[in-house]
Amino acid sequence: MGHLTHDEFFARLTELFNARKGKDYGHIYLTQKRFSYEQQTEAKPTAENPFPELHPEKPLPLIIRATNGKSTTQAHTTEKVKVSTIVQPADLEAFYSRYAEVCRAGMSALKPRDRTKRKAKARKKNKGGGGGAAQPS
């Protein structure tokens, strides 16, 4: 499958996360790396510049992939989802802010911030006004 535009990619990624929401198991893999395939900057190493990839002449795009980790064999062929998009260096900021939003919304099975301690403290404070010794919580 070819690379998607950012909008399509985020739509598919949201779908991917939503598909996991009702279930109690599953995986989502996200990968990012430099997109150096078919780039014209493939300079040959020379004595002065032995590692041309360390200092490319211009910023390179990134490729972002997302998959649900299903294999393509046997029964899972229809379940496999694999999407990718290319992010140009100029769009990095905008892309990552949206990426963060989608991830935060999608990763709902993570532990929410634990507020029980703060609540217990507040309760203790209220009690502490009247009684002396605070109970160990």
Partner: protein, 219 residues
């Protein structure tokens, strides 16, 4: 490979790895959900039965494949069912040197920060310059606020990538030094500076510990 205890350590070491091998290093993020309870025998049997039934249907090939069965969360688990637990694993991997750096969390509060870190690493991958730090960040770093110091830090970072210095106990395997020659020349003189920096970080952590102690005393 062991996990880093702090996401900051993971970010620093990943940045060093990216600096050394920007072309091949990739950052993988795995989000996975697991059942909070073990399956009982009957539940397992029900699951396997269902999957074999689907397989038989597929083999017959007369009918189009039925839609996947509903999730087994509907199965009675007896009493209150714990919600499934999710984990997030960040992994920086360089297939050429085999270096793997990992960080694991299960806190939702960290997701935003971690994706921001992915963005920072993305900038390095794209060979874009870092966003200049705000004044506050420079203050907390303990630097004088001069850009020259930042450049120095960058150089020592390159040397550290070659030396493969471990951040928080997790040892980074030695990356074959592929940094450019100026960084290699400065390498022998750099390790003390790097250690001094780490010592500074440790001191900061100690300060944080002191703060906590104070709070305990109040109680």
């Amino acid at each position: 490979m062991p996990y880093y205890a702090k996401s900051e350590d993971w970010l620093n070491q990943s940045a060093l790895l990216l600096q050394a091998r920007p072309d091949t290093t990739r950052v993988m993020t795995k989000y996975h959900i697991e059942r909070a309870h073990r399956l009982t025998k009957s539940e397992k049997a029900a699951l396997t039965q269902r999957s074999t039934a689907v397989g038989a249907d597929g083999k017959r090939g007369v009918y189009p494949k039925p839609p996947p069965p509903p999730p087994p969360s509907t199965a009675p688990a007896g009493g209150v069912q714990k919600p499934a637990r999710g984990h997030l694993v960040l992994k920086t991997y360089d297939p050429v040197s085999g270096t793997t750096l990992m960080y694991k969390t299960s806190k939702a509060a960290e997701v935003g920060r971690l994706v921001q870190m992915l963005g920072q690493l993305g900038r390095k991958m794209a060979a874009l310059p870092d966003i200049p730090k705000t004044r506050e960040e420079i203050m907390t770093d303990g630097g004088g606020g001069a850009p020259a110091i930042q450049q120095q830090e960058g150089k020592s970072a390159a040397a550290a990538a070659a030396a493969g210095a471990g951040g928080s106990g997790a040892q980074t395997p030695v990356v074959v030094p592929r940094t450019s020659t100026p960084a290699q020349q400065t390498q022998p003189t750099q390790p003390p500076a790097q250690q001094a920096q780490q010592g500074g970080g440790g001191g900061g952590g100690g300060g944080g510990g002191g703060k906590n102690k104070k709070k305990k005393g109040k109680r």
